[in-house]
Amino acid sequence: MLRYIAKRFLIMLVTILIIVTLTFVLMHAIPGSPFNQERGTSEAVQANLEAHYHLDEPMYIQYLLYLKSIVTFDFGPSIKQPTSTVNDLLGRGFPISLELGLVSVIVAIISGILLGIIAALRHNGIIDYAAMAIAVLGISIPNFILATQLIQSFAVTWKILPAATWSSPKHMILPVIALATGPMAIIARLTRSSMLEVLTQDYIKMARAKGLSPYKIVFKHALKNALMPVVTILGTLLAGILTGTFVLEKIFAIPGMGKYFVESINNRDYPVIMGTTVFYSAFLIIMLFLVDIAYGILDPRIKLHKKEAE
């Protein structure tokens, strides 16, 4: 197990290096620099500024400097907001983004699995059809459309929920619904179909023949097996929710990391782009790693390490 984690850790480092390099190349492939936006700064000032941020150095030096900043996890100050460092921005934005993402993930998983189970148990009944209709809608409506519609209905027309910002649990409701609906729908459909398959298995019949209660049969015997495909797509869903937060933070004016991320690209704020990218990719890669580990816990037949299987 330890060897497996070490191996995975190395692969994760390589992945992050590739992402960093790609981001660096793409960042510099975009024309323009942080300082040449119709501001009429004199050439001398611009040259000084560029020298200050090492933008006048050759590319490979800049690249190495970036690598150094990543290894030390010190991205320096933001070019556009010189009063705060990139780490400050991350420290301010990430907890909020994490809160939004985490609550959405939890809501999506719990409601998706419950919806899927209910639909499977009432197979071909009215509840099943209703649940699946909701799921199809959830999958087909993009979250930014849903978000604007939710704001229109709940905040503008009925005035029961706040339209934007992030200050109380009440403010969380609309963004979380907008963000969680899509993944919830996918999880619900997947849970339903794998649940239906599992419920016809012999070991479920065996569990019934033992006289177990329906509750035990569903939650102890069926669910664990039915969740395997759900865990598989959890990684992808996490990525979806993560990128979803960018868009929704913009729509709901939530001061999370997404805001800085989008702004930094518009402003060519190189340190912030770099910092947020590295941070997000590291976060996602670690999440995917945890999903892999969850796999082994759910199904004892899956061994994470070759040696263990022998």
């Binding site: 065996m206 006289g211 102890k220």
Partner: protein, 335 residues
């Protein structure tokens, strides 16, 4: 010996898009304490449906017990509530399934699956449950049980898994064990071991067994009585000796003739020509008429009454009628 189970005029139907399938059409049999009854017949004759009906494990809908009664120790299982049925399943009546590779949950340890029935039905501590589990593992012959309890099904071979399934079925000390093709999915050598195990268990616990199978070799080994099913009906029932040495129904004879034998100098197996009738609209008369070499006009029109040849041997065939005796002696019986 007292009867523990009495099945009377059992009808089970399944609704499908093509219409209603009458899978079991008036089955009668009973079972005494400590006895092994084998229900034999070809695929689709209703033997598994019959056994699942006793456990009330027919998926409803589409399945339905349309008529009849299943009386277990004075209680009619067709009418008890689902909740009450749960206190009977596993405790009084247990079941073993065909394929041990799929009958165990791959994500739970053997120990967990063995003891959960016990914990569900009896007020018992974890340690007592484990002790009972170890006792059962020893009974069914699983070596180093203490270690094995912590393992998962994929770490067991097919034969070992079937032993676990048997231990699981017997852990609450049931009166009746229904074994649905318990050896079909196993290697021949393992089959023999499992059958021996059934004998040993019956000797120790006095459990009654209903054995569902299409394998007459298995039947010959452990059954006391045999019921032959065809197209949703039991067409002949008798002791093992009666069915093997004095089969009366042409179908039973055909079934025995189609088993390969080494002790008789005969080149070819004699298959039964044709296929069983469509159970969407089963024939009014004897369902075997179309395949029967002795079929008479009446066979197609009216189902025969049951004829008793001895206190244990009953057969549903027009050939047993007084008026048909002549035909039967003329046509003779094949060896």
């Amino acid at each position: 010996m007292d009867k523990i189970l009495e099945v009377k005029d059992l009808h089970v139907t399944f609704k499908t898009y093509g219409g209603e399938v009458k899978a079991v059409r008036g089955v009668n049999f009973d079972l005494k304490k400590g006895e092994t009854l084998a229900i034999v017949g070809e695929s689709g004759c209703g033997k598994s449906v019959t056994s699942n009906s006793i456990m009330r494990l027919i998926p409803t809908p589409p399945g339905r017990i349309a008529n009849g009664s299943i009386v277990y120790r004075g209680r009619d299982l067709t009418t008890v509530s689902e909740k009450e049925m749960r206190t009977i399943r596993g405790v009084d009546i247990s079941m073993i399934f065909q394929d041990p590779m799929t009958a165990l949950n791959p994500t739970l340890t053997i120990g967990n699956q063995l003891t959960e029935g016990l914990k569900q039905h009896k007020d018992i501590s974890g340690r007592e449950a484990k002790e009972r589990a170890l006792e059962m593992m020893n009974l069914v012959g699983i070596p180093s049980p203490e270690e094995r309890l912590k393992q998962y099904p994929h770490q067991f071979s097919g034969g070992m898994r079937q032993r676990v399934v048997i231990a699981m079925a017997l852990i609450c000390d049931p009166d009746l064990l229904i074994a649905d093709e318990p050896t079909t999915a196993l290697d021949v050598t393992i089959q023999a071991q499992i059958l021996e195990l059934f004998g040993k268990i019956q000797e120790r616990t006095g459990v009654s067994i209903i054995l569902i199978t299409h394998d007459l070799g298995v039947v010959a080994k452990i059954a006391d009585r045999i019921a032959v099913m065809y197209a949703g009906k039991i067409i002949e029932v008798g002791t093992k000796r009666e069915i093997f040495y004095e089969p009366q129904h042409p179908y039973t004879k055909g079934l025995l003739n189609s088993v390969p034998r080494l002790d008789i100098e005969e080149d070819d197996l004699i298959p039964i020509d044709g296929t069983p009738p469509d159970l969407f609209s089963p024939p009014q008369g004897c369902p075997f008429t179309a395949r029967c070499p002795f079929a008479m006009e009446v066979c197609d029109k009216v189902y025969p009454d049951s004829a008793s040849l001895s206190s244990t041997h009953d057969v549903d065939c027009w050939l047993q009628d007084q008026r048909a005796q002549l035909v039967s002696t003329m046509a003779g019986t094949r060896k």
